[in-house]
């Protein structure tokens, strides 16, 4: 029980003071859980994070759940998760209430007229940075372009697009996994796997 409480407080502190989302909090979690409390050895912690990173859902919540579960079982998992999300919920509830009260004030309206175009840019910039980091080539550029076309132009639900992309990527990952002896670990050596539908051409180029 004591461990569960400590987990709650640790993740509560991190949730309450970390700006910039999941990845910003990672070093803080490591400091608290690995360095100070010594609940999990460093190697095991980063192995766990590698798995958690490829899971869907809120990264901070997933991290809290796995660390909590590893340290103190089900009780620990829930304590850590609640610690991670309660600060968010409380702060947003307060702000949303205040904002609802004042948003029709001319001053607030003027401020937000300036903020809205900024938000658009803040969404576009990371998407382009992601395309860069995924090493999209002219040939594979069809994937993000098709995604944008389907969602923005055809108004198809992003949910279906994701499901289709998962299916394609899974097939591709299995192909990559077969080709490398250690189950696809050496992905850096292989031409970057960003095609969701592996073409015959690509297979030939690899072999």
């Amino acid at each position: 029980m004591k461990k569960a409480l400590q987990l709650f407080l640790t993740f509560f502190r991190i949730g309450a003071f970390t700006l910039g989302g999941g990845y910003a909090m990672l070093s803080l979690v490591e400091k608290a859980v690995v360095d100070q409390k010594k609940w999990i050895p460093t190697d095991e912690f980063w192995d766990m994070i590698a798995v958690v990173q490829s899971l869907p859902g809120v990264f901070a919540v997933n991290t809290a759940l796995y660390v909590g579960h590893r340290v103190a079982g089900t009780k620990g998992a829930f304590a850590a998760m609640l610690g991670a999300i309660i600060p968010s919920i409380v702060i947003i509830l307060l702000l949303a209430t205040v904002f609802r009260e004042y948003r029709d004030q001319p001053v607030v309206e003027r401020i937000f007229k300036g903020i809205r175009p900024c938000v658009v840019a803040l969404i576009l910039a990371p998407s382009l940075r992601m395309i860069k980091s995924a090493k999209v080539t002219w040939k594979t550029a069809i994937i993000p372009i098709a995604t944008v076309f389907l969602i923005w132009w055809c108004k198809i639900s992003p949910a279906y697009v994701i499901l289709a992309a998962i299916a394609g990527s899974l097939v591709y990952a299995i192909v990559i996994g077969r080709k490398t002896e250690d189950g696809g670990r050496r992905t850096e050596d292989v031409p970057s796997p960003q095609s969701s539908v592996p073409s015959q051409e690509r297979k030939e180029a690899e072999s």
Partner: protein, 179 residues
């Protein structure tokens, strides 16, 4: 009814939300603005700004906000809980199934393949917010300050990795004096 809709929407997002907060943002936008029309596009932009400026995971912030504006206090708790529910269930399965090296590598490769599609997804979310509601002075023969803000913020964010909170504050100050 609204509670069931919130539950369904955010469970779906919890299951399909690969690739971080921004990917979930585009899923939330589709459901909340396009599909259920719970919010206007300006409300959504305001919500994103507020969620980005507050500590904690942006997707939890968004879920709480959406839940609160559609169904009050209960709605906010329900939406946040629904978003976490798939993760809670997965913790028990993944620990047993995916903690070996081989399936972990498969997951990593799948995610790598998914990345360009997710980038497109996020880009589409930004594009669908480019309208005259969010760019109030666009095409009205005025100074087009909104376009200037958008371009400058994009450059600062993409090339210089400027702090998003600082950019929001500066844009707000510009808006205060310009409009």
């Amino acid at each position: 009814m609204i509670y069931l809709q919130l539950l369904w929407v955010f469970i779906k997002i919890g299951v399909l939300g690969f690739g971080g907060g921004y990917a979930m943002l585009s899923l939330i936008q589709h459901e909340v603005v396009d599909h259920y029309a719970w919010m206007s596009t300006t409300d959504f932009a305001d919500m994103v700004a507020i969620s980005q400026m507050t500590p904690g995971p942006i997707s939890i912030n968004l879920a709480t906000y959406v839940g609160y504006t559609t169904a009050g206090f209960g709605g906010s708790l329900l939406a946040s809980f629904a978003l976490c529910l798939p993760s809670i269930i997965m913790v028990y399965f993944i620990l047993k199934l995916f903690m070996n090296k081989k399936s972990n590598a498969l997951m990593e490769n799948t995610l790598k393949g998914l990345k360009p599609a997710i980038a497109g997804l996020i880009f589409a979310a930004g594009l669908s917010m480019m309208n005259t509601q969010n760019f109030v002075d666009f095409g009205r023969g005025q100074n087009n300050i909104s376009v200037v803000i958008c371009v400058l913020v994009f450059v600062a964010s993409y090339f210089f990795k400027a702090n998003p909170i600082l950019l929001i504050v500066i844009s707000g100050v510009i808006g205060f004096f310009a409009y």
